[in-house]
């Protein structure tokens, strides 16, 4: 029997994977993928909890999250393209412009 707990544990594992990926990866594409992983881990827990409580809100929020994530990805990818045009690289360690 697959209980709500299983979904939540899976969600936590996926989220942690995403976090670690964001922290250790240098390629922004991969970092993006990890961010998506984190988002979807959250989505999973939303749906699981929505089913657990028999409410529709959980699924509704996921639809919102997907729409926002799509918009965010398009902006993010645009930024990456712009950075590449300017600096000929997308390695995040070389794009440390916040440090003077």
């Amino acid at each position: 029997m697959i209980t709500t707990s299983h979904f939540l544990v899976l969600s936590a594992i996926l989220f942690t994977t995403g976090v670690i990926g964001v922290l250790v990866k240098r390629n922004p594409i991969v970092i993006f993928m990890c961010v998506e992983l984190m988002l979807n881990a959250a989505n999973l827990s939303f749906i699981a909890l929505g089913r657990h409580f028999g409410q529709v809100n959980g699924q509704m929020y996921v639809i919102f999250a997907l729409a926002v994530a799509a918009a965010e990805v398009s902006v993010g990818l645009g930024i990456i393209v712009a950075i590449f045009r300017a600096k000929e690289t997308i390695n995040v360690d070389e794009v440390n412009l916040l440090k003077s």
Binding site: V19, V22, L23, D93, N96, L97, L98
Partner: protein, 723 residues
Amino acid sequence: MSTSNLAMWIILLPFLGFLHNAFAGIIWKKNAKKMVSYVAPGVVLLAFGVAVAVLMTELPNAHDHHLIGALIPGTSASTPWIKLGGMTVNFELLVDPLSLLMAMIVTGVGGLIHVYATGYMAEDPEQPRFFTYFNLFITMMLILVLGGNFLLMFVGWEGVGTCSYLLISFWYKQVENAKAGNKAFIVNRVGDLGFALGMMLIWSVFGTLSYFQADGKGVLQLAGAGHAEGAHAALQAFSVMGTPVSTAVLTTICICLFIGAMGKSAQIPLWVWLPDAMAGPTPVSALIHAATMVTSGIVMLTRCSWLFQQAPQAMQLVGYIGLATAFVGATIGLVQNDIKRVLAFSTVSQLGYMFLACGVGNYIGGMFHVTTHAFFKALLFLGSGAVIHSMLGEQDMRKMGGLKKYIKNTWLVMFLGTYAIAGFPLLSGFFSKDEILHSALSSPGNGMFLYVVGLMTAAMTAFYMNRLMHKTFYVKQQFVDGELPHQHHSNFDDHDAHGHDAHGDHHAEASHEEDAHGEEEHEAHGHAHSQVHESPASMMVPLYILAILSVGFGGLMKMTGAFEKFLEPVVPAMVHAEAPISEMAGYIISSLVAIFGIGVAYLVYRKPAVAETGQFIPAETKTQWEKNPLNPYTFLLNKWWWDAIYNGIFLRLGGIFAMLLWKVVDAGIVNGTIEGLGWIVGGISKLSRKLQTGYVRNYALAMLLGVIVLMLGVLGSWSIAAK
């Protein structure tokens, strides 16, 4: 209370003149100089007319011998000027015999000097600026004497100081003139501090600054009331607003005010600025540094005489300081070579006499000497100005001599002025000086000492003034006519004017031999085209008027007693002790002393050897003496080393102290603290800057850690709440 409607115009007329002169260039374009030379003397003489009108029409109707007037047309005398908490100061004028007398001296003598200055300054391209300051000075001086409270007097006091500064350094392109102006201004600040402190004390003791008030609680009314209870009882019973005022407080007030007077009237120890003030144009010396401004200390003391009468120790201080100044000034005057400097030290000395008179309680005598001194000292200064003018700017008496045959009229007026100040019998100075000496003799205490030193000073005065006359007019001519260098002082002049003060000694010695050669040549040519010329009528007419006053005023007033009767109501009567000699004996002794001084000068400078060179002590001996700083001649020539001592104390030691404050306190402590704080903050930032790596993942990690901490916090609080 009686009021005056006219008095304000005495002040407003010169003020309008000041405005006119300041903007004359804009109003009249090219005619500015001409218009200024009409308007500037015009307004002052008009103000004199108004003062006379007030004297004739309003003062006789005054109740209690004083009138209160407004300063601005259309306002009333009690229009508040400053209202601060419980303090109200009115914009009021006080017209009484004392202020009116001073107003007439200031506008009368001042008007004559204005007329003279139109001639003297005619060639100066900055003449409108000169008369702007001159009229402003008259305005301020009138506010000083006519102001109805101490604060207005202070306004005038500072105003005349400013004008004095502006006029001393009028030819500011020569740096010594600018320095002399600074010196006068700075030394006066010391005195002004005393005045300000005295004023604050008066405010805290009397609760007002007005001399007279409608409710009878003016400063002078209260002080006068204390006086009326009898000299000794007054000291005990003198009370203001219910609380007895101790003599110590009154003495402090009086000494503070006297310090102010010391600065303005050039008394020891604040006298050093006056000789240097001669750097200004000669009319300035005559008007400000002889006839009017420098006497404002005596006017102030006389105005506060009711207060001083309650503080015998302060009076004694005034008397002794005055005597010391009179003596020291006269000794220095004996050896000066600059014609204006002799007169400057003579002024210092005569001001000392006036303070002596105030110190022994003879305020009327002091004011009498103020008046006669205004006449003859203005005359002498203007006469010396005419001499300088005719000598094309030369001020060193060693380069004059024999001028009598060139400028006979100037000689005549100078002669009369000299005899007047020397105290020759029956001239003005004789009566006023004798009045002071006699009252000093009959004052309780050390009357004899005051008298004898006063007589010695009188003898020296007679000597040095006649020395001036001999050196300038009688001894053999010391210059070559036709070869006089042009030294007209002005801002637009290429000639340096080094020869004109005592520092130019070597210069003078060097040119001396040249003179000897040129002498025969000069005799051959005759003086058909003499360079030395009599001054224009605009300069001579004021001199004649002043000469008449110098000769006749004193005797007239003494005979009719008008002066005493006029001032009697406003000052306390002198406390007389029995004079050891009669008034007639005093006259005879004074006459003998004056004639002795004149005679000594005559004997010394008529000796053929002296008359030849014009120098009693040969120049070589003087040069020898000057090398020894302890030689009496050098001692006097350098003003008792007074300037040197002040330089040592205030400039050197003060400089070291300032250096200490700068290097240690300011640069070390203050700056150190501020910079130390900055250094610490900088260090901390340097460390914390390392946290900012610029790597996105480090920031992300920080965010994550933050989230974890928050979550733990929330979970922890839940678990606590659950328990």
